[in-house]
Symmetry: C2
């Protein structure tokens, strides 16, 4: 019914400290760009996946959990030799959790991004077409000069003998194969190797050819490795949930699809962030701490009820009493539990109330594709499906000052304005939010003739920054164009191979500014029957390149619709809950 | 008698491929700068050390081997959060050797470089002087505002009661200690913690103070961690050998001392590179393959003899028959074996011949502090003790061409000149060496009007590069000065703490251009008695800051001299060997 994921990384930030990386007044775009710049050189080296399937008869979820260890083991001599960064504090943190680094580095599953996969596929195709196309000339090694080789005097006798042997072999119909004498030292130093010539009929030749191709395909699949699992997740049409999942999503795209676009990402699948969900009405008021461990504990108590979840047969079960946090599979499992508890809680607002709310329910749609933004004061989420929220920041000042200044200096400077809040940008600048927007202009005016520091309104700061960007862009237009050209060259492009369909648009970055807009939830239509409609969303738009990859998914979805109609009684939302379920526009 | 070392790294090159990193016509300075730029972001995470001591009575070496796993575990919240790069191919290589990554990341020994150690020491000193100097004000928390705190209404009663209790306690001479009531929830949420006030006399106070200081010193030692082992090696005065050890030496300085200087390194200790030794007369002619594994095999056969080496009691022994290459301790051990075999072989040229040649023998001095340069055609080593060799490169051309060109295009371009050798610099340039220096000018002249490519002599290329450097330096003089200022700020500075002496000049980089010059070996003086003289070199110059760190070393050295005089018979070198032992000026 839905999937939960979690990733463990070799580090978080290769530049500023995490607190500088997460300024309270970052815009979603700025935050995305900071993470892209400072977090993508780390390796996502453990991927936790948990599948949840609801058993209607038993009224419980059946769960399967997986821990994938990931390592970009070079496939062959020409394959990319990936370098990744490790951050001591992150590694030490995982070490303290008992993380098994040997499993990563010795037995990790390799992967390729789409461009690397394309190149490898091309290599194989080229090799094959060379072998097939050569026809009667197939005895010429690839890349060899086409002109005849002159045989050195001292080897002529040996070669003549070989030629004679082969001619005899071809004449004589009885012999099936011929072993040539090992070459002498001057021809080859490896004396244990020799050539065997075999006669094969057309049938046998084809069989061998097919065998070889099957082996190549297997090699290729092994090289694409874990990326195949990620493609399967993205193409499943299932809701994919994570806790505080922005970095997970960015790493997943970066590592298994293509380099991240400059401005923003969008996905053609359904993601749900349980941290955002827990920070939003109606949960916000009754949940104090949204960290995964605390959230899991809270959701076992009233008004929530712990979900009924069992491991599938043959799968290990996790015990939430003995914490195993930060094994990715366990975190994914806990994330799943949290989602189920919160989703079911929403059912209590229905009339009549429902104990079970499925991942396909319209009740949870308001949370789709909105990823939690850590420590941003007034923008709760990065919106993957429409323009980001534009909070009023008319009480915020941007202040520049000498690098010797400390927070206390800022408190002193603004002592006349009562309570203030400081958000450091770097050594010499910070945002300062005042309690009253009216004070902003006073502060700016008072500072007009100050020499050591400079104050501007947030609006002026944004304006100036935009102008600078424009100017910079003009200045370096040539180099920009060059970069753009290169970027486009390496961008992921959709393609269809003969053996498999790819849905490159799911779980993939796009570099366009305009994102698919989602109409805001106007009103809950009040019938659980709308879950029929939900299923539509699970299927891709038929005009979409992704459509063909889901033939089974469509069938399954239709079947599911039928079951739902039979089982689920109609119910209507109370009018008060209509407002409750809207994700607020500002925090 | 001597130490052998070997390091394992998390990677080799974060930039160009190793083949581009090691151009056949690099100058030693260029090579050093390339390695500094592209190899220092990796972690030296296993350090192998082998100590060798000769037992004169038993005529064998006693060996102790160590494998240190190294990891920059953050010491506290303010300590550096080191980021390091991993290269998949290197990690995969080590994984295939059974390398235990968990030992590194879970149990690795931490370390600090000199600047970090200095800062930490300063922190401790500051804390201590704060505690001592505060005297009667010591009840004020550090960093707290100095003005009295106003007590909230609802807590006044509680505070009054505490004050009363303390006053009673001070008056009453019988009570030794007083337990204060736990704070109420509004003051502190951690209800299990409470304050105990104890009376102590001056003696007890001092004892506690000393206990605290001892504990702090222990913490500090633990934080400096493996750097202490490296300091001990550098200050031991022993010959330190390694195989192809340039990267080991650079990583050791970078990780445990200070950032590498821009131009070159110099050390005030004795290093010997067995790969350089094996590549030099009299070994060059009889050793084909100088890779460590092959060298070890070759040196077991005539004219060499396998050395007699035994593990010390309680130390594990290595079996050279079952290869365990690339555990650092094993590689250090093998390096030691190779050194002993080669050193002893030099003894066969003495008259009378000697079976045992010590690490202090003048016979091996020509190899001191010359580090092997991988794949440089005409400069065998980087000289740590004098100007580098200046090979004639009058048969070498520098060629620039379109990036589509391949090696075959260069062969075609120079087809008129017979055999050539191509050394790629990057996509669009390469060195091409001709067999005859006379052809160089012809090639340059012929190319004068060529449009797609450009040929210049090596001398012209060097000249132009030098000019460009000068111009660039002028252009950015201001930013240069700024950088220089910053560099000087973070440079390692000698200091003497009260508890330990540091020999900061050993095993340490300097950024001066002029390096200490070594007079070339003019003639072997022909007597093994000169080994007395050798010992002088083991001691530091008394004017040197390092001198004081070796009081024991001096004594030991003098004792050793005496033993030598008694045991070693005089012998004289044959005149032919005089030339043989000189390290050639060019390859």
């Amino acid at each position: 019914d839905f999937l939960a994921i979690d990733g463990e990384f070799s580090g978080i930030s290769d530049g500023p400290s995490v607190s500088a990386l997460t300024n309270g007044f970052d815009t979603p775009e700025e935050r995305y760009q900071k993470l892209k710049k400072h977090s993508m050189d780390f390796l996502l080296f453990q991927f936790g996946l948990c599948t949840f399937k609801y058993d209607h008869a038993e009224e419980k979820y059946i769960m399967k959990s997986f821990n994938f260890y990931i390592f970009p083991k070079p496939f062959n001599r020409s394959s990319p030799d990936v370098k990744f960064v490790c951050q001591s504090s992150s590694i030490d943190f995982l070490a303290n959790q008992g993380f098994d680094f040997n499993k990563v580095f010795r037995n990790g599953i390799p992967y390729l991004n789409q461009e690397e996969e394309r190149q490898l596929r091309e290599q194989y195709d080229e090799k094959r077409s060379q072998a097939n196309g050569a026809g009667s000339l197939s005895y010429i090694s690839p890349n060899a000069t086409k002109c005849p080789v002159s045989i050195p005097e001292d080897q002529k006798k040996f070669i003549d003998k070989v030629v004679e042997q082969i001619e005899d072999f071809l004449k004589n119909e009885e012999n099936e194969s011929l072993e040539l004498e090992p070459c002498t030292g001057s021809v080859s130093k490896i004396k244990e190797r020799y050539i065997v010539i075999s006669k094969v009929n057309e049938e046998e030749r084809k069989r061998r050819e097919q065998q070889k191709q099957a082996k190549e395909q297997e090699e290729l699949n092994d090289a694409v490795g874990f990326s195949r699992v990620v493609h399967a997740i993205a193409n499943s049409g299932k809701l994919v949930i994570g806790h505080n999942m922005l970095l997970d999503v960015m790493h997943t795209i970066h590592q298994f699809y293509c380099p991240l676009p400059d401005v923003s990402i969008s996905v053609q699948m359904m993601l749900l962030d349980t941290k955002l969900m827990a920070s939003t009405q109606p949960f916000k008021e009754i949940i104090n701490n949204t960290s995964l461990a605390e959230l899991e504990k809270r959701l076992k108590e009233v008004p929530f009820s712990p979900p009924k979840v069992e491991s599938a047969e043959g799968f290990p079960s996790y015990d939430t009493a003995s914490e195993q946090l930060h094994e990715a599979g366990y975190d994914a499992y806990i994330t799943g539990l949290c989602f189920i508890s919160m989703a079911n809680f929403l059912g209590s607002f229905l009339s009549p109330p429902k104990n079970h709310v499925s991942a396909r329910s319209k009740l949870i749609e308001p949370f789709f594709n909105k990823l939690f933004l850590m420590r941003v004061m007034d923008i709760p989420y990065l919106n993957l499906e429409g323009p980001d929220l534009q909070p009023k920041r008319d009480h915020v000042l941007h202040v520049t000052f000498p690098k010797e200044w400390k927070t206390s200096d800022l408190y002193q400077l603004f002592s006349a304005f009562g309570n203030i809040q400081v958000s450091w940008i770097d050594d010499t600048s910070a945002f300062v939010s005042l309690s009253q927007p009216e004070q902003v202009q006073i502060a700016v005016n008072t500072s007009r003739y100050a020499e050591s520091y400079r104050i501007q309104t947030y609006a002026e700061y944004v304006e100036k920054k935009h102008e600078e960007k424009q100017a910079k862009r003009k200045c370096t237009e040539d180099s920009w164009k060059e970069m753009e050209r290169k970027r486009l060259k390496t961008q992921c492009t959709p393609y269809v191979s003969q053996s498999r369909y790819y849905c490159v648009n799911s779980f993939t970055g796009t570099s366009t500014l305009g994102k698919r807009s989602m109409s805001p939830i106007q009103e809950e239509t009040g019938s659980d029957d709308m879950e029929e409609g939900d299923v539509q969303d699970l299927e891709c738009d038929p005009t979409d390149s992704c459509a063909e990859s889901l033939p089974d998914g469509k069938k399954r979805a239709k079947k599911f619709k039928k079951i739902k109609k039979e089982q689920v009684p109609a119910g209507s939302l109370t009018s008060s809950s209509t407002e409750i379920f809207e994700v607020p526009e500002t925090w």
